[in-house]
């Protein structure tokens, strides 16, 4: 079974590059190439027409149309962009603060108490 599968797979996949190249070469010729543009134009009109019909049907059923969903998408995405900007700004501020902390001069140390020996001397002098 595996052998058959492998054979079938080889038959399909090995000549793929050559066959694809031949097919693509056909699409480059003067007959096909202009059709790409015409087909696209046709598809655009068909899509517009279908879009309009579907929009009417959805509106009649009180359901959101594609345009309305796209508008929601636009608003959600704008909000996401705004949140991302704030997030990036906060990250940048945090980094600046941590860098500033590391370069700020250390707090002055509390003056150390005089050594015992000097105190003794002082005490001795007073007496």
């Amino acid at each position: 079974m595996d052998d058959y599968l492998a054979l079938w797979s080889d038959l399909l996949t090995k000549p793929e590059a050559t066959l694809s190249e031949q097919l693509v070469a056909l699409t480059r010729d003067d007959v096909f190439a202009p059709l790409v543009g015409k087909q696209l134009l046709l598809a655009v009109h068909a899509r517009e027409l279908l879009g309009e019909r579907i929009s009417h049907a959805l509106s009649a059923a009180n359901l959101p149309t594609k345009t309305e969903l796209a508008a929601i998408n636009e608003r959600l995405a704008s909000l996401e962009d705004g949140v991302a900007s704030v997030q990036a700004y906060v990250t940048r501020l945090e980094k600046r603060l941590s860098r500033a902390d590391s370069v700020v001069a250390p707090m002055p140390k509390r003056p150390s108490a005089p050594s015992r020996t000097s105190r003794k001397k002082l005490t001795g002098g007073m007496l």
Partner: protein
């Protein structure tokens, strides 16, 4: 609801892409259960900068970088960024982090109606310089290296041509088209006088992802069927099947192409072939490749059907850098950067080229 997205991502004609994403939106649009199971985009990253749909990320390191010069990935406008961070052990980003680089990446996101007027000038003169500034501020360096892929490579080249005194120190381009004549099929379809680019653009002012996908598939019509048959033959091999599903998911996860950028590329790259002549038009300026003087590495794939050798092999000859090199590796457009072959062929070569050029502290 998340499952709906993954099922339909490879078949966007069932429901409109934008509607799907509106219904099942998550922060990056890839955070679905299916994607979680595939382990796509696994490397930890932090957001450094965001503007509109564009995001600039810094990939997190557990140890300080060995090579001080940061790397900035400039990705294509028509695909998602995670092709360079596909999965654990299959991620170019992970590899570059492991060999000691600080890695940043620009994800252009999903442009919407509001971004349909963004042309080459926006990307080259505004977005890329803005991101570079943020990278330098974040890394504390004064120079960086750009690593760019496909159309991202063209954007990086245009930037390098227009900013010869900018902070760019090295430029790596992976499968970057510069010669429209080499893009034989796209040129044959799009450069005819009876072809109207407007037919590609939808109500949002952008080229919808399904049209981008169809155009890519038309370049090699039987490839998808062949890879599905191959997948069937390896269905018992979990690792291989998962690898293939990840790539298939990425191929299907196209993003809209900003309408203005599309018009400019069809005119400048395909019809007028400006990159090979007077320079691509970026706003009011012309970006001539011979203005580029920084060290350049171009890596092309021998069997690339999207950016064939004929469309990219002139890149190195056109730039005026003293230090320039082209490497041609076996494989196709996607297997150049991702997958098992990329790990053996591209990644070590990339590190070998970058290492001596990333050592010197820039200040």
């Amino acid at each position: 609801m998340n499952t709906v997205v993954q099922d339909d991502a490879s078949n966007p004609s069932i429901v409109d892409d934008e509607v799907l994403h509106a219904l099942a939106r998550r922060s990056l649009g890839v955070d679905t259960e299916f994607v979680k199971a595939l382990g796509i985009a696994p490397t930890d990253k932090e957001l450094v900068h965001a503007s509109g749909p564009m995001r600039l990320y810094r990939y997190k390191r557990s140890t300080p970088a060995v090579h001080p010069l940061p790397l900035l990935f400039v990705m294509s406008l028509i695909n998602r960024y995670y092709i360079v961070d596909l999965a654990r052990g299959r991620s170019l980003v992970e590899y570059l982090l492991s060999v000691g680089y600080d890695v940043y990446l620009i994800d252009w996101g999903r442009p919407r109606a509001a971004h349909s007027r963004q042309g080459l000038e926006h990307y080259v003169q505004q977005a890329i310089p803005e991101c570079m500034e943020r990278v330098l501020e974040d890394s504390g360096e004064s120079k960086l290296t750009m690593v760019s892929y496909c159309l991202g490579g063209l954007l990086a080249l245009l930037y390098a041509a227009l900013h010869p005194r900018g902070p760019l120190k090295n430029l790596v381009c992976l499968a970057t088209p510069v010669n429209g004549e080499g893009l034989t099929n796209l040129r044959a379809w799009c450069s005819r006088s009876d072809f109207d680019v407007a037919t590609l653009i939808d109500g949002s002012g952008n080229v919808p992802p399904e049209k981008v996908l169809i155009a890519m598939q038309l370049l090699r019509p039987l490839q998808q069927t062949a890879s599905e048959v191959t997948l069937l033959g390896h269905v018992g091999d979990r690792a291989r099947t998962t690898d293939q599903l990840r790539l298939a998911y990425w191929v299907g996860d196209q993003v809209p192409f900003p309408g203005t950028a599309m018009r400019e590329l069809v005119q400048g790259l395909l019809r007028d072939n400006d990159a090979m002549g007077q320079g691509m038009k970026v706003g009011r300026r012309r970006a001539r490749l011979d203005a580029i003087k920084v060290p350049v590495l171009h890596v092309a794939a021998e069997h690339d059907h999207i950016v064939p050798l004929a469309s990219c092999s002139d890149l190195v000859g056109r730039v005026c850098s003293k230090d320039k090199q082209q490497i041609v590796v076996k494989g196709g457009h996607v297997s150049l950067v991702a997958g098992r072959n990329a790990q053996r062929r591209l990644w070590p070569e990339l590190h070998k080229w970058l290492e001596p050029r990333s050592q010197q502290r820039s200040h």
